[in-house]
Amino acid sequence: MDKRIRVLVAKPGLDGHDRGAKVVARALRDAGFEVIYTGIRLTPEQIAESALQDDVNVVALSLLSGAHNTLFPKVVELLKAKGMTDVLTIGGGVIPDSDIPGLKAAGVSEVFTPGTPTSAIVEYINANVK
């Protein structure tokens, strides 16, 4: 066996600020994960289909535009529709605390807001990946 945790790092929607996503991608690589970095301005369909083709264990979404309540649940929904039922979906960005319960109810496992150390994301993935 030579199993590695594979994580798709993606930015859905119209938001070009990718510094945070790149820092997270780097930290996940340094933690020994295989990170598929897909870049900015993606549709939920592009993200879900990439997750399927690369058979990732985790989809990590980064968003700073405020459209997370629409786009994060859409990605979760498409992943399910494609049969990717064992994927852990996590989100990050400037997300108000009041939005987090709704996102979790929609199937986003955890939300990481500004100030989170990257090690917390690594620990969360290691503890929760299926």
């Binding site: 066996m1 030579d2 690589r29 295989e34 897909t38 870049g39 990439s50 399927l52 690369d54």
Partner: protein, 312 residues
């Protein structure tokens, strides 16, 4: 879900899960590949290699689109290096291919090189076979042209394309790198840069000195992949090479060689795992190392003894 049936019935999820089984060396991988094997051998395999930053991913993206226009389905296996420090990897080839994703006729899989055991060529070869059995027409394997195992992978393709860019150093660099010999065709990407004519001449001169190029003279195409320039000509050249291989019967030789190198690699891999487990991981071996360090014995006799015991 039965994975093998899924792959043969064009389930993208099954194809993806099957590649994971091979990549992660799950127990079912052998059974999957055994059942898949009779359904392979129909796809045309293109290997693309070149130095980092030459534009291989962008070029692959454009070639895939051109092939789609010509009615072919496309599989892409994009290989990026694993960090030797953390064992992790950033697989960034997909970023150049995101607008392929909405097309059901294209399947892209990113792979990391992972360990140094030499299993990479087997795993990428199995990924190609799975895409082949799924029914994909043309499969592109794309990898950085550094390191023996990466070069081995593209070398076994039906058509191997080497991508170069102007301004990476003089012709000695090109000879030193050793990847120029394997090209059935050459693509000078970023051909809007300075130095493109000089590079063209250098490749021509190198081809001139190669005795093997009597029947097939590797064409040199120029592209600016980011601007979609020269892409049709590259696909035309690939198709010409394919025609040449089939007309001369050389395709059979290439594919026999591929099978030979695959099986040899599998045997070597199995043996080296056996040696790791039965010899290297033993206490006896640790003692032998100590004796060697104290110069009580010599490595040659040790190797003889080990090989005799393993082969008996």
């Amino acid at each position: 879900m039965n994975i093998v049936e899924g792959v043969l019935n064009h389930s993208r999820l099954a194809l993806s899960k099957a590649i994971t089984a091979v990549e992660n060396e799950y127990d079912e991988a052998v059974s999957i590949m055994t059942q898949i094997y009779p359904h392979t051998g129909n796809a045309y395999v293109i290997g693309i290699t070149g130095p980092p930053g030459a534009g291989k991913s962008t070029l692959t993206d454009k070639l895939a689109k051109e092939y789609r226009k010509r009615g072919k389905t496309i599989g892409i296996v994009a290989i990026d290096p694993t960090s030797p420090y953390s064992g992790g990897a950033i697989l960034g080839d997909r970023i150049r291919m995101m607008d392929l994703i909405a097309d059901e006729g294209i399947f892209v899989r990113s792979m990391a090189t992972r360990g140094s055991l030499g299993g990479l060529s087997q795993k990428s070869g199995d990924a190609v076979k799975l895409m082949d059995a799924y029914g994909i027409d043309v499969i592109i394997v794309e990898t950085v042209g550094v390191g023996q195992s990466e070069v081995d992978i593209v070398k076994t393709a039906d058509t191997t394309m080497v991508v170069v860019v102007p301004g990476l150093g003089d012709d000695i660099q090109a000879i030193k790198a050793g990847i120029l010999e394997i090209g059935d065709l050459f693509t000078i990407n970023k051909a809007d840069r300075e130095g493109v004519d000089k590079l063209n001449i250098e490749i021509e001169m190198m081809l001139e000195l190669n005795q093997e190029n009597v029947e097939w003279r590797p064409p040199i195409n120029r592209t600016v992949a980011s601007k979609d320039e020269g892409i049709q000509e590259v696909v035309d050249s690939i198709e010409e090479h394919k025609k040449f291989l089939f007309q001369t019967g050389k395709i059979e030789k290439i594919r026999a060689n591929r099978i030979k190198s695959e099986v040899t690699a599998m045997v070597n891999d199995r043996l080296s795992r056996y040696v790791d487990k039965k010899v290297v991981a033993t206490e006896d071996f640790a003692n032998t190392i100590l004796k060697l360090q104290n110069r009580e014995i010599d490595p040659y006799s040790v190797v003889d003894k080990i090989v005799d015991s393993v082969l008996k």
